[in-house]
Symmetry: C2
Amino acid sequence: MVVIDRPVDMHLHLRTGKMLEQVAPATISQFVGAVVMPNLNPPVETREQVEEYRQEIEKVVAQKGVSFIPLMTLFMKNYSERELKELKSLIFSIKLYPKGVTTNSEQGVAGIERIYPVLEIMEELDIPLSIHGETDGFILEREREFAEVYRKLARRFPRLKIIMEHISTAHLLGVLDEYPNLYGTITLHHLLLTLDDLIGNRLNPHHFCKPVLKTPADREALQLVVKRGHPKIMFGSDSAPHRLEDKLRGAAGIFSAPILLPALAEFFEGDWEGLQRFVSNNARQIFQLDPILPNRQIKLVEEKWRAPYIVGEVVPMEAGKVFKYRVVN
Amino acid sequence: MVVIDRPVDMHLHLRTGKMLEQVAPATISQFVGAVVMPNLNPPVETREQVEEYRQEIEKVVAQKGVSFIPLMTLFMKNYSERELKELKSLIFSIKLYPKGVTTNSEQGVAGIERIYPVLEIMEELDIPLSIHGETDGFILEREREFAEVYRKLARRFPRLKIIMEHISTAHLLGVLDEYPNLYGTITLHHLLLTLDDLIGNRLNPHHFCKPVLKTPADREALQLVVKRGHPKIMFGSDSAPHRLEDKLRGAAGIFSAPILLPALAEFFEGDWEGLQRFVSNNARQIFQLDPILPNRQIKLVEEKWRAPYIVGEVVPMEAGKVFKYRVVN
């Protein structure tokens, strides 16, 4: 049996309404907390919205009857100091989507200097900044082109904790180590898949996501850094459910939530300390999460388990695949 | 008015049956001949198959009431000298699909040395070799990895005319110039599109093809070499119709036939000699096609023309787009 102490998903899309009710249980049963992204329509930007969204999530948590903490986030805009002081206790971080590169991010920020006033306040109040770090350039160069923005922000706001979300390239892993205040999340799908899984054989819409899957060399670099237990790298699934109908119309996002711990257990196979660091300890240490996270352990047994073919209207990653480990509830 | 003398599509998929009847007219009305690929199911490998397929195509041509010559091809296998002597007058070239990389090419050839005996006979009989030049490696490296095979064949069979089909990378353009017996075709879609059109925004299955679309730098290199009128580079559309239903299930192939000359006229805009060379003269000179091609001209007028939204069950490239030039029939 594998016991994971307080696993946290540091990057999650839960949606709202019926979709939320359908997809959230997969996360609640495998994690004790998750950073919940604010890219709803409209995006989460006010105290009322944060509270309403958290309550909606907590209803689903209550139905599951386990302890789970949603770490709420705000969509970046020009918040005042007064607003952020009021919001601080309600949120984990503020999420920045550079213009037009990701789902529902049409309201995202283009010229990075425009948000310096907010970043100064965030640095002062110790509110982390989450970034979807891609430009709107050529699809395979978006992370590389964005690297300069990370550097600029890390230098300009040395006490601001900056989370480079879903790092997908070897290049960006290098940037992570240049500044002490840069942290990174890595998804399951970027750890396991490459562009070949999207466009190598038939086109597979279920493997389409942003940042797009990359090269075998990029995947190898991600695997290496995760296996070596880099202390600034945390697990963030970026699990992003879309209805099958929308996936077939080209929506970006992989719904990995149902298979996360079984797949990660296979990935770490035997190195349970490594798994513990990646899905829990690193994040808990970086952001001092212990006071707010439930003291709950998740157990996996070595027992064949088949991933669901569909959850509500959403096809999960590796639908129908048989895994070696099963989460015990 | 733009008049193109004897345009030829040097790489075309026409399918059979109802699909052939639906898609062939677009080509027949814009070209006086086309190299028709043999990847049917089963593939075209015998005298009977070639003749039957040609007759099927000629029936559609007869219905259109214009002159059009299908340049037939054979699927590569270990043909004997006797077979090829008998087949020579019926075909234009033999097509080699490296194993498993393209539609219906499961019967393709893996170890290139295995077909040396056939290539020797082809060289002797002056039968050109068409190659889909990709390995089964990582999707973005397949052409680069295949380059060594082109070099090997060009050196080993110096009198064999080798056609590097649908060149999609700057790298392979470089290889083309290394040997005098290497020739190349370039498609409309590789000239106009990049990976951004497939995976840059929403996933667009209508832009999925093999070789997959490449980088802006690759596209620029292709555009440059075509605009400069490279004498060894010919137009081959690789127009490859799939039913909409199959495209939505991930089939590779872009049906560009309906828009070819209007789109190429916009691409060459005013450089009508360049257009004439690319879609006709280069191929006619390299393969001495004049004795077999009908003496027919295709006219375009500068007049707005909207590409069809669907042809039979197939969605064409740039469906519904308004072009500046219209083909006059």
